[in-house]
Symmetry: C2
């Protein structure tokens, strides 16, 4: 990967995108609605080539994202140096119900029943690195 070009966006290979996904516990899931996209932050776990999110069975995410194509976005940006990276994973979401103690699911941060797991079967992953500008 060429990280030498300064002040430019550099595409990241897929393997590095997956690796970066494991470095942060919080991302953002986006789904389509009739009034534009909806985007909410969630904590998540990577399991193979899927992304798993635990949520409440009655959440908007479960109602709207099931069997739809969604996006999952993670970034880490230093606001002082204007450097960082972002990763966008896209694929079909599927809602699974069942064992809330499923070991591969992430531990929810929000209290209350979290009996559903949104599983994103990722078929497209892209990432970019923003280099520091020249001094």
């Amino acid at each position: 990967m060429d990280k030498t070009a300064r002040g430019q966006l550099v595409d990241l290979p897929a393997d590095e995108c997956w690796q970066l996904l494991t470095t942060t516990p919080v991302g953002r899931i986006a789904w389509t609605t009739s009034t534009g996209p909806e985007v909410i932050p969630v904590n998540f776990a990577v399991d193979g080539r899927t992304i798993k999110i635990r949520t409440a069975a009655y959440s908007a995410m479960v109602q709207k994202a099931d069997a739809e194509r969604v996006a999952f976005q993670v970034d880490r940006i230093d606001e002082d140096t204007h450097t960082g990276w972002s990763v966008l994973a896209r694929g079909r979401a599927e809602v699974r119900y069942g064992d809330p103690e499923e070991p591969t699911g992430p531990e929810p941060w929000v209290r209350g029943p979290r009996s559903a797991t949104v599983v994103i079967d990722v078929d497209e992953i892209t990432g970019r690195w923003l280099n520091p500008p020249e001094q």
Copy 2:
């Protein structure tokens, strides 16, 4: 605003959402495509009840988001304490071309021509606060 409920999501009033938007220079714009949402991080400026993003005239954002409903998301989450907030602004995007030195636009972090400004006319803003869980 009730910030006392622990481990729960608390809705934020619109005024506080707008105030929080001014506390960070980086957010994420999302738009709809035929294969699901697209989400990318951008730096931005708040101008009245609009959000402005400078970009290249040939960018995917300009091509796909113009005259469409988009979402703009900002959050600040402490991964150690599981506390933080998120704000989601939604509205119609419009691409404007012209003076790249427009003073109300944000300064781009990425080098190269940034001759277009995406202006989001926000008609819906929501936010949530995640409180710390009980010890």
